[in-house]
């Protein structure tokens, strides 16, 4: 893997991002309620949490599929929060791409694969001739492990794993700086998941892409991420390097999440009981917490009391 320069300016800087959805006059869903994190160039940042924790909403707000309610997003020196200027919008659309969860649903069934992949090039006029456009499409198809002939086929002629490769090709043809992978492998079979993850990793080494990897499968996130943020109910409750999160989890939610992963080891698994976490019973209020730093990279959202309690509390595994 390429070395990541953490002393440089982060590629993506998110500060106090809020994304609220007004459901009715007197009810607003606070899907994301004030989160801050940085992603450096060349790394993979994993965002994990249960459904409804706001991890997908975060990704969609960053790429501006939604209008964020509040907060600042700086992407490679460009402010992409608030109203987008034409320049900033163009920069964002060319340099940030997304890979979606469901490879069956995210490809237009009426377009040929070649057209789907080249759409970004077409919109931004990134070629001077028809030949150059086709060359680019063939090159990227080759990179993701498909062949030239596949460009003239339709999405339904491909298997799930192949379709996800098309989704990846579509994102990568723009040579983006940041790729948001929103549950990109959850819908695939186990043996195919490994193929796609290996592909994403190889492409990262080759092209120096930065990933924001959103998933609920912790073992896969551990495998692919350099740093991890754990989300719960719209807050990042704990963030740190993969090692720190897995060997020294502090927040009780992180610990319950880690203990809930079933290990493929029958004897161990049958003897183990997972830790449960109930926010109400523990009386934790995320909006009162502030980020406490354990190390330069590892921080946890807690009030003063909670922090001392969790730090001193013995780990049960």
């Amino acid at each position: 893997m390429t070395e990541i320069n953490y002393s440089a300016e982060p590629l993506l800087h998110v500060e106090g991002l809020k994304q609220h959805f007004r459901i009715s006059r007197n009810y607003t869903t606070k899907a994301v309620d004030g989160i801050s994190f940085d992603i450096w160039e060349g790394e993979t940042y994993g965002l994990v949490g249960e459904s409804g924790s706001g991890k997908s909403t975060t990704g969609r707000s960053l790429i501006r599929l939604y209008q964020p309610t509040a907060g600042k997003i700086i992407f490679d020196g460009h402010d992409i929060s608030g109203k987008l200027s034409a320049d900033n919008e163009k920069f964002l659309r060319q340099n940030m791409q997304m890979i979606f969860q469901d490879p069956m649903a995210c490809l237009n069934p009426r377009k040929k694969v070649g057209e789907i992949i080249a759409q970004g090039l077409d919109i931004h006029h990134l070629y001077s001739s028809r030949e150059e456009r086709n060359e680019k499409v063939y090159a990227i198809l080759d990179k993701v492990g498909l062949s030239k002939e596949h460009a003239t086929r339709y999405p339904q002629q491909f298997s799930g794993g192949q379709r996800q490769r098309i989704g990846i090709a579509r994102a990568l043809i723009m040579h983006p700086k940041l790729v948001i992978a929103d549950e990109a492998i959850s819908a695939l079979d186990v043996s195919i998941q490994a193929q796609v993850v290996n592909l994403m990793r190889d492409l990262q080494d080759e092209m120096g892409i930065t990933y924001l990897f959103i998933a609920h499968d912790l073992s896969m996130v551990k495998y692919i991420s350099d740093r991890i943020g754990v989300m719960h109910l719209g807050y990042i409750v704990e963030t740190g390097t993969t090692d720190e999160i897995f060997t020294n989890p502090v927040h009780p939610y992180t610990r319950s999440l880690l203990s809930a992963i079933p290990h493929p080891n029958p004897i161990v698994e049958k003897l183990r009981t997972p830790i449960t976490y109930d926010k109400e019973k523990e009386g934790v209020d995320y909006s009162k917490g502030v980020l406490h730093k354990l190390t330069d990279t590892h921080s946890v959202l807690a009030t003063e009391d909670e922090y001392h309690k969790w730090i001193s509390g013995s780990h049960s595994y």
């Binding site: 893997m1 249960e50 459904s51 298997s159 799930g160 794993g161 192949q162 079979d189 186990v190 043996s191 195919i192 998941q193 490994a194 193929q195 993850v197 290996n198 990793r201 609920h216 499968d217 912790l218 073992s219 896969m220 551990k222 495998y223 897995f246 319950s256 999440l257 880690l258 203990s259 809930a260 992963i261 079933p262 290990h263 493929p264 080891n265 029958p266 004897i267 161990v268 698994e269 049958k270 003897l271 183990r272 997972p274 449960t276 976490y277």
Partner: protein, 372 residues
Amino acid sequence: MSEKRDKNDRVLSIRDLNISFQTANGKVNAIRGVRMDLFRGETIAIVGESGSGKSVTVKTIMGILAGNGQIESGRIDYTFTNEKGERETVDMTKLSQKEIRYRFNGKHIAMVFQDPMTSLDPTMTIGKQITEGMLLHEKISHEEAKKRALHLLEEVGIENPEKRFRQYPHQLSGGMRQRVVIAIALACNPDILICDEPTTALDVTIQARILEVIKKLQKEHDISVIYITHDLGVVAKVADYVDVMYAGRIIEKGNINEVFYDPRHPYTWGLLASMPDTDTDSKRLFAIPGTPPDLLEEIVGDAFAPRNPYALAIDYKAEPPMFNVGGQHRVASWLCDPRAPKVELPEQLKERLASMKLESERALKAQKEAEA
């Protein structure tokens, strides 16, 4: 886990089951000679990728095979205690869908589906859906049914059952809905519970709790459970026996420790190795190359051969029989033939198995210390 299983405790025995589907593109041979036994109180997990035939197998048991499905041959013998209190054995493949539906479904064999959002009726209250089966299969009053339903809701871990009884599915969370589905499945005290990917649509934390609930109820009611899943972690947690399916055949089966600690089929190796353990640090995941075969075409030899780096010449010519490799462990791979060359396990898997054994020894020791 009993080593020797009593024949009288056998509730389900499937023999040489062959099922095909007639599609616009031709005949798909989805199930090719499946043999399976289920004994009282035990848990079997069927593992496989999508299209391997695991769902089709259990749907046949339930008599809910799709309209274009055809049972070519084989039998599914189900042994149960009938209304008169006698033990009776029927061949489910000989019964009509209607007969299975009225006599067995819900009452003797119940099923929990993958997605609780779609398996509940959005226009009916929770209470009505739970009592529906009881009122149909048993002669009991509405009050009696309600009493039992409330008890069931409590059993599956739903707080405030009185309130939930009157609510509609959309008012509950995903985990809660799956608990309701389990309550419905258990409403008529079935002997077999089939769980088709019961936790795939749920989060890990909720998954753990749902699996605990099923386990607890299984013990209390002495039910046999068939799990269908592709998550080996879930299998390790719940199963006593494992059947690994590939392209419509069972390619490896045995009790869970045999299959997990001493896998013999290259496909099982691939499955175990491609799962990122939370302890893996290696740079690349082991991936099985290629994709599963198209069952529209007739399969010659071992269906896994084209994806198998250890394939022998005979794998392309003849289908391997089930080899007995000791204990309850059976493997359909020519590599287990005494004439086959010795094959080394992939390096990654070797390390994984060694660390798994070490971990399990440690866990057993800790358990003993905790008891003492």
